[in-house]
Amino acid sequence: MIRFGFGPRPGETPPADPVAWLDAQLGPEAPLPPGPSSADGLRARAADLAERNRNGGIPPRQGQAIAIARAEARAWAERRLVAEQPFRERLVDFWMNHFTVSRRAGTVSVLAGAYEREAIRPHVTGRFSDMLLAVARHPAMLFYLNNAGSIGPDSPVGLRTRRGLNENLAREILELHTLSPAGGYTQQDVQDFARILTGWSVAQLREPFGYIFRPNAHEPGPKHLLGREFGAGEEAGEAALRFLATHPATARHLATRLVRHFVADQPPPEAVRAVEQTLLDTEGDLGAAARTLIRLPQAWEPLLTKFRSPSDYVLAACRALGLPPERANLVLTGLAALGQPLWSAPQPNGWPDTAADWATPEALMRRLDWAYTLAGRFGQAEPREVAEVALGPLARAETVTAVSRAGSVRDAITLVLASPEFMYR
């Protein structure tokens, strides 16, 4: 519950058979959570823009797009506060971070929740190639990494307007999402892959308010990626993405990232090999990879090897205190205060995933400030029960003693949340 979930809530007891409990969460896809589609989001944005134009350039005070973005963030926090399938939610968050889109890029803001539901969530126990294709066609990603405006220089649009390629999406798919630099691609591969993806764009101000392939912006002629020839047209992009998704370097890269996230900052090579082999054997079945992951001996011994990221820490604390979903806002402000605001990674490589990145002096001090501030809101709680929920059998004698000796409820809860055993998962 601690390593693969978000930490227990009051009344939840550790499962007798943890692997079976986790396995059950990887079963057939639960119904998708409700929420506006990316087309709804783009329509809302278009409506805001139209109103701004009517008002002589002044944006609406409470735009539809902002309202959607706020509701999506709240829904994210509410769902995780009470999640009954926390492992599945954690996988969703892992893949969201793998395929980062950031609200720091304006248009992404209204689309991030829809991106999770449309491109990520349906595939977390499905095929990686399907997830990659869904991501590469999603307006959030096409805007975030600028492919929506990438024009084949020799396409009709390119010849007429003299506009050209934008390499950003092609480069980051190769570097971050699939092969990683270990895959040995070249600058020429990046450029040719960018040519392959020309025309993958978005209709943002008209129907269908979503992904479209623009044949007039697509670079004609054959292109080469890692020595393979791909023709012209949308199918060539699909073929290239499927080729990359099942490339051995991709399996190695994904396995390393999964093991680093769920097992240890320094991924044990044999653990990486096991997950990698599963991905190779199953042509990238992410459900199978997750089942291998939870059966790794390294995943269960030693425990508490992963320093909790701000997101892990805030959710675990709020869950341990039984924070009701109506107060989900506290989760979101906590993420921002501790330097990991929701869906806002500073760069396309997403949030970092090791203690070296998060356990820094000022970050730890702020974590204690936040814990103390939060504890101030739970003056009615029973500290020993909070310790029991939050730490369970992992509580050390020193912590139990310190909590029992604390001069106030607030201090006692702060000590639970500040104990080293609560800092890890």
Partner: protein
């Protein structure tokens, strides 16, 4: 007859008064009074946009939508000596240049040829030809003494840049926003964490850094709340570094330079923020400014040609800035490779002609006055990039 004091006489007079009271302390610490600030621009600044070589005939052909009018024309560049012009969003830097306190370095790059942000940032900050787990500035700190109150190095901002990670403990500062536990509760938290080999030293450093910040910034920190983000951080950094017993070396990061599209709209506000931040840093440093050098670097430059979205893609050669009262400024330091036919690297990027490590090594040797061995530890395997002389005033 009036007695005209000679330079030697002045020096002797200074030495004589140094025997008295506080002046003696100040004199004794002269060697350790130099300040170095490194600002990392994450995302790759387009050096050809910030510092435009308007004297190069090939410039407009490559990137007409990004080129500004020549100096003296309306909305034009700020002249840097007849060939290069600074973007007008950076008036404070230009004023420092005119005062001889800022230099521009152009056609610079590290030894790496990676166009990956994340690899290149790691190389830039670690200082190695391969990825290292510690930063060159951290390794350089091994040769600097800590003061009684603060670590010699300090990270400004919520994160700890790789540049300052490593074996030498460093302080940190980020602006507050939450309630802080009372010191007594902190003591008990420290007792609980004492058994944890990772957290115990991190907490100790966090406490140490906060202690120092509280003593130094004190009540006037309220003034800083008016300012935002980077400018506010830079102002605080200046004041922390100005403290007599404060840190001597600071690192800060500023992201948002990855301008693949709509570059003018996105880059001008960034340049303005950087310019205001550098001005705030100078203001915060106050009387310590004459002993200060500030190095502003980025992981690589951007393509010489404009791309299909009025942006630029990942390139190689770029620009860096060096400013401070200690800097021998008022010049552009560049062995200009040219932008014309056949001059670009891979027919695409500004050809780098100056290794970034030479600049950093020059500052460690001539500004912080580190011994050769310490400079070599900061930049292992860099014999091919000797320290660049003459960056700071003698």
């Amino acid at each position: 007859m009036t007695l005209r004091p000679t330079r030697r006489g002045l020096l002797l007079g200074l030495a004589a008064s140094a025997a008295l009271g506080r002046a003696r302390i100040a004199f004794a610490r002269t060697e350790g009074n130099r300040r170095l600030v490194v600002v990392i621009l994450q995302g790759a600044l387009d050096g050809l946009f910030a510092v435009q070589p308007y004297g190069d005939a090939a410039l407009a052909g490559l990137r007409a939508p990004l080129v500004l009018p020549e100096p003296g024309q309306e909305g034009g560049l700020l002249d840097l000596g007849g060939f290069f012009g600074l973007h007008p969003a950076m008036p404070a830097l230009h004023a420092l240049y005119a005062a001889g306190e800022a230099a521009v370095l152009h056609a610079v790059a590290g030894p790496w040829r990676s166009r990956s942000h994340f690899e290149a940032q790691d190389f830039l900050e670690s200082g190695g030809a391969e990825r290292l787990t510690s930063g060159w500035l951290n390794r350089a700190l091994a040769a600097l003494p800590n003061s009684a109150e603060a670590r010699a190095g300090i990270a400004i901002g919520p994160g700890m840049p790789l540049l300052l990670r490593g074996p030498v403990p460093v302080g940190a500062y980020a602006p507050p926003g939450l309630e802080r536990p009372p010191l007594e509760l902190i003591d008990r938290i420290a007792e609980l964490q004492a058994a944890d080999p990772l957290l115990a030293p991190v907490l100790a450093e966090g406490l140490r850094a906060r202690d120092f910040v509280r003593h130094t910034l004190g009540a006037s920190a309220a003034e800083d709340r008016e300012r935002r983000g980077f400018v506010r951080l830079a102002a605080a950094a200046g004041r922390l570094l100005a403290a007599t017993e404060g840190p001597r070396v600071a690192a800060m990061e500023l992201g948002g330079w990855d301008t693949h599209a709509a570059q003018p709209q996105r880059l001008v506000p960034m340049l303005r923020t950087l310019d205001e931040g550098l001005a705030a840093l100078k203001e915060g440093l106050g009387p310590a400014w004459p002993q200060t050098a500030v190095l502003v670097v980025t992981e690589f430059g951007r393509t010489a040609r404009v791309n299909g979205n009025t942006g630029t893609d990942h390139g190689t050669g770029g620009a860096a800035f060096l400013l401070g009262g200690a800097v021998a400024g008022g010049r552009v330091i560049a062995d200009w490779p040219g932008l014309g036919e056949g001059r670009l690297l891979e027919d695409r990027d500004l050809m780098p002609t100056l290794d970034l490590r030479r600049i950093a090594k020059g500052l460690l040797r001539d500004h912080l006055r580190l011994p050769e061995a310490a400079v070599a530890r900061a930049f292992p395997d860099s014999a091919d990039a000797p320290a660049l002389a003459g960056l700071v005033r003698a």
